[in-house]
């Protein structure tokens, strides 16, 4: 008791310079937060403003001439819906495939007893620092005859060895070796051990990895861009690329009246589309943040 008191006193006496530092630190961090927020707020504000205000350059951080008209127009835009539907499919299917493959890969690699462990670890690690590149990979996808199918989007990026390492590290560090040994003595096969012990005990890391894969798949345009020409299969990101970056609103998707209006609306609609496409992740993120952070931590344990 006495000891902590003196401690506190010293703390206080030394604190003056530090107090200034503290205030400065909070100001600096707050400024950084503002820098991060301004672009986001500006986009949201513009999406709710009239196109007249946007085109006149009046919108900063608050909507001018508040309107929902932009959103109504975008919701009529078929490509956005189609893209959304495809992306949801790719995200769900891709995540399921990726998580299953990654688990199957990480489990044996985490078992000290497994004879191929060291060799396979090294071999697969190599894929992280060297790969065949764009053209040879394209040729493999082409030769598999999966160009212009959903598989071209799902399979080539199905497993990231980095994520496998995260799972492997998790299993190695949180599930005691003794558990495996004692269950084995009792006649538990590797398969049963996986189902009865590894799966239930790995739930937290499975959640983390699933979210990693889901975000990657949601945001991925590269695969679809290289391997798809069939518009019906386009994920949202590819439509977004056309709309946002190449500035192509295909008039065919719209009735003439809207098509005419869209010319003047184009820029405002881009803001809406940014909001509509990004909102789901942004809304979910704060609730699952701690899982993502945990994944970073486990992944950082040296491979």
């Amino acid at each position: 008791m006495q000891k902590t008191k003196t401690h506190k006193k010293k703390h206080f006496r030394q604190g003056r310079g530090d107090k200034v530092f503290n205030v400065v630190a909070i100001i600096v961090i707050s400024l950084i937060v503002i820098i991060v927020l301004v672009p986001l707020l500006n986009v949201v504000a513009a999406s709710f403003s009239s196109s007249k205000a946007v085109n006149a350059g009046q919108v900063l951080l608050w909507p001018v001439d508040f309107t929902l008209e932009n959103y109504r127009t975008v919701l009529k835009y078929d490509s956005v819906w189609l893209g959304y539907r495809n992306t949801i499919f790719y995200t769900v299917a891709g995540t399921v495939i990726s998580v299953m493959l990654s688990l199957c890969c990480a489990y044996p690699l985490a078992q000290r007893r497994f004879s191929g462990r060291k060799f396979l670890n090294r071999l697969l690690m190599f894929t992280m620092i060297f790969n065949g590149g764009m053209i040879p990979t394209y040729m493999v996808v082409r030769d598999l005859n999966i160009l212009d199918t959903v598989w071209a989007v799902l399979l080539p990026v199905a497993v990231s060895f980095y994520n496998v390492i995260i799972i492997r590290n998790f299993i190695e560090t949180t599930i005691p070796v003794e558990l495996e040994e004692s269950t084995r003595v009792d006649g538990c096969t590797p398969f049963r051990y996986f189902v009865n012990f590894i799966l239930p005990l790995s739930k937290p890391i499975i959640a983390v990895i699933a979210m990693y894969y889901a975000v990657a798949q949601w945001n991925n345009y590269f695969n679809a861009f290289l391997y798809l020409t069939e518009k019906n299969l386009y994920p949202l990101q590819l439509f977004l690329r056309e709309i946002l970056v190449s500035s192509k609103f295909s008039a065919a998707d719209l009735d003439p009246e809207t098509a005419a209006a869209i010319q003047g609306l184009a820029d405002t609609l881009k803001y809406v589309i940014i909001v509509v496409s990004t909102l789901p992740l942004m809304c979910i993120y704060p609730f699952v943040q701690k899982h993502f952070v945990k994944g970073v931590m486990i992944g950082s344990v040296k491979g």
Binding site: H7, C105, L240, L244, D267, T278, V296
Partner: protein, 307 residues
């Protein structure tokens, strides 16, 4: 004897191998097959000859690339862009983590962290879209503010070749510094509080403690991440650069990876698979050399290394 040993191992471990089968199939098909396909870099690829039977030309394609007028441009652009990016994307998260860690307001910190990590989840396409809108010289926030201050509209920043690198790097800082800082922040939370108390008793200011206690604590993490970053130096993103490219900024925005795409896949029937692959291979080997060098230096200097 050996055969017998292998038999017992297989008998014991066959279920593990069964687990490995599907993921191994994935790696073999999508990672190792393309490595075999890399040999077309040394051939004159024709669809009829395929990977194995097209005419062997040796180093011709690679020499052609090295001697082409594009060589200097794309290698230089790639190199500068990644070094610049690596430096800024390392320093800023560290600085942020150090300041953030010094603050003792849990609620403030929590909200801050959520906000600064949020942009990490924006897709590249949308990020570039946001940039194009905000930096629009008339209706974007950049144009509006510029006009308010200087009375004239600025020129189109996306059309300025020299702006490309800064736009590329600083937009990725905006998007990722919070995310990249997570690892440093977590490492800092592991600093022994006793060290800080002892230093405080000796009269060390907060700033001094950051410099002499916190920063050294981060060194191993910084080294590992820097080595990994070095390994990715030549593979700097196709995705974003490609989206940001336009005819005006190609002089600075054409990278090895985007050039590979241009040569190999964008031209339809004119595509030169062999030449594109040769360029890509040149890049990948350079990459591999860089990561080995970086790892060696790291091990010598700090006794921390990737392997």
């Amino acid at each position: 004897m050996r055969v017998k040993k292998i038999k017992t191992v297989i008998k014991r471990d066959w279920q593990y191998y069964l687990f490995m089968l599907p993921p191994l199939a994935y790696f073999i098909i999508f990672k190792f097959f393309p490595m075999i396909g890399l040999q077309i870099a040394f051939r004159d690829y024709t669809p009829r000859g395929g990977i194995w039977n097209s005419a062997w030309v040796g180093l011709e394609n690679i020499i052609k690339f090295v001697e082409s007028y594009q060589f200097e441009r794309v290698v230089k652009n790639t190199f500068i862009l990644s070094i610049y990016g690596l430096a800024v994307n390392t320093i800023i998260p560290i600085a942020f983590a150090l300041i953030y860690n010094a603050i003792e307001k849990p609620r403030f910190k929590k909200v801050t962290q959520t906000i600064v990590t949020l942009p990490h989840f924006i897709s590249v396409v949308v990020l570039v879209g946001i940039m194009m809108q905000l930096l629009n010289n008339r209706i974007g926030i950049y144009g509006i503010l510029y006009e308010n201050i200087f009375g004239v509209y600025p020129s189109d920043i996306f059309g300025e070749p020299k702006a490309f690198r800064h736009l590329y790097v600083w937009s990725s800082v905006w998007q990722n510094f919070g995310w990249n800082a997570i690892i440093y922040i977590a490492t800092l939370s592991g600093v022994d509080a006793g060290l800080h108390e002892a230093a405080q008793l000796d009269g060390a200011s907060r700033l001094k403690r950051i410099w002499h206690i916190d920063l050294p604590h981060l060194v191993p993490t910084i080294v590992i991440l820097a080595v990994m970053g070095m390994g990715n130096i030549m593979s700097v993103g196709f995705e974003k650069a490609f989206l940001m490219q336009n005819n005006l900024n190609l002089e600075y925005s054409e990278l090895i990876s985007t050039y590979v795409y241009r040569v190999g896949l964008s031209g339809g029937t004119l595509s030169d698979f062999s030449y594109a692959t040769a360029i890509d291979l040149f890049n990948a080997v350079l990459n591999l050399i860089l990561i080995f060098i970086a790892n060696k230096i790291a091990r010598r200097a700090t006794e921390t290394s990737l392997w």
